[in-house]
Symmetry: D2
Subunit: 140 residues, 4 copies
């Protein structure tokens, strides 16, 4: 399977359709089997004690699977999340970026399933895991 984007064009495309995420994310790696997305952690992502908030981790997991699906199927802005499960397993390291390692487990005609492990930059055990299902609109 060849990808429809590279790291640069994929981020550009998503920031064009979702301008509000500009400056939030960076793509560290993209190939057929793995996408690595970095959440550039700022003050607004933190909870008291310096830990990254749950909604920030949800956003990171969600965008990672979305980007993986787009890379595989090409621009389909209407793709929507239908289901997610998340396990929060460890406290993120204070003030470190978060890295989401995302693999597509399924890319069907109408449903895609992506698996995500989230790490604090520099830590070897995951802080969270997520699975996201995306519904892909049918070509008319």
């Amino acid at each position: 399977m060849s990808l429809h984007f590279n790291k640069e064009t994929l981020l550009e495309y998503v920031e064009m359709i979702f301008p509000q995420i500009r400056g939030e994310f960076q793509i560290d790696h993209l190939d057929n089997g793995l996408l690595i997305v970095r959440l550039l952690v700022h003050e607004r992502h933190l909870r008291p004690g310096g830990t990254v908030s749950g909604p920030s981790m949800f956003s990171l997991a969600d965008i990672s699977v979305y980007l993986s699906v787009l890379a595989a199927i090409g621009p389909e802005a209407l793709t929507v999340t239908t289901n997610c499960s998340l396990d929060f397993m460890r406290k993120p390291v204070s003030e470190a970026d978060l890295l989401a390692h995302c693999k597509l487990l399924k890319l069907g005609k109408s449903l895609a399933v992506g698996d995500v492990l989230i790490y604090s930059d520099g830590m070897d055990k995951p802080v969270a895991r997520a699975t996201m299902t995306y519904s892909i609109p049918q070509a008319k």
Copy 2:
């Protein structure tokens, strides 16, 4: 079971420990069996097309279960989310507030489980559902 807070004191307490959420949420109803939390939808919660974003719905579900647990056990700021599952079922109504209806299904010594249905204000079918598990720190 008597509650440790009423609508006003519960919101005050949570806004004190999480000042960054001030102005985001309102508590519409609180009794032993049901908590209703309102997300005051602003521009920053929206996605293109006027729909409320996934992370905003995650935040609303998360805070609703957190508030339900605090109402039941009293101030325990360290309570943390360990797991969640979410189903996004319908597109939220453009620019309407979201209402989370939350019930605690379990309140054990170390784990609490809350179930949430999220509605667009004025709509009778839920836009999303969520289940959240919280871990409750053990008294020393």
Copy 3:
């Protein structure tokens, strides 16, 4: 919405297409908003200590949502489970039947979502909750 089956014809239909479940389940209640399915607990459903096994509870939740979908859309034997989340919250009562209370939260053209609370017969707090997503094959 009128239903395609009543309690008796719904069970008959499902036992015809899945003969291996004969004698396992009973339908206690069926209307537009709620389906109650009873797992007739036998020795083979138990774990040491007399508690009902996880797979038995999964089966009960799964069949409950399947039956709810069939009641609403009519005979579509190919409908398949795509996702489930389950929380096991309390130990089932030894040797009591289990009752699944199932509500359809969404019935779309291609996806249905059902929510289930499972009770030990005679107990007022749920032993488990489940959400199941079914994919509905498109009419050709």
Copy 4:
């Protein structure tokens, strides 16, 4: 971390405490990072059309995480499942065994989280994925 069991003693121990699963499972691989459990597929695991049933896949995922936890912490028969999420992604191959590849993502003092990919023997894409949370009883 050294394991408390090898492939043979782990299966023996679990079949001793759950005699009803004798002959269902086999352990193909066990080391610090990965456990592979085989479901020996029989007639009773099948649905019409020859596909393996959902409850059979749930059982396989559940036992895999249970075995992984026991291998890591030693015999603790009381360990219980508190949460699971499952995605069913492809139809299993008719009459092939199923293989669960299980990794422990977290092994805390009170909670363990295991991730499972399920394959039809001989197929390279997963038929299902699961995450299971186990609660570990506290030493008195």
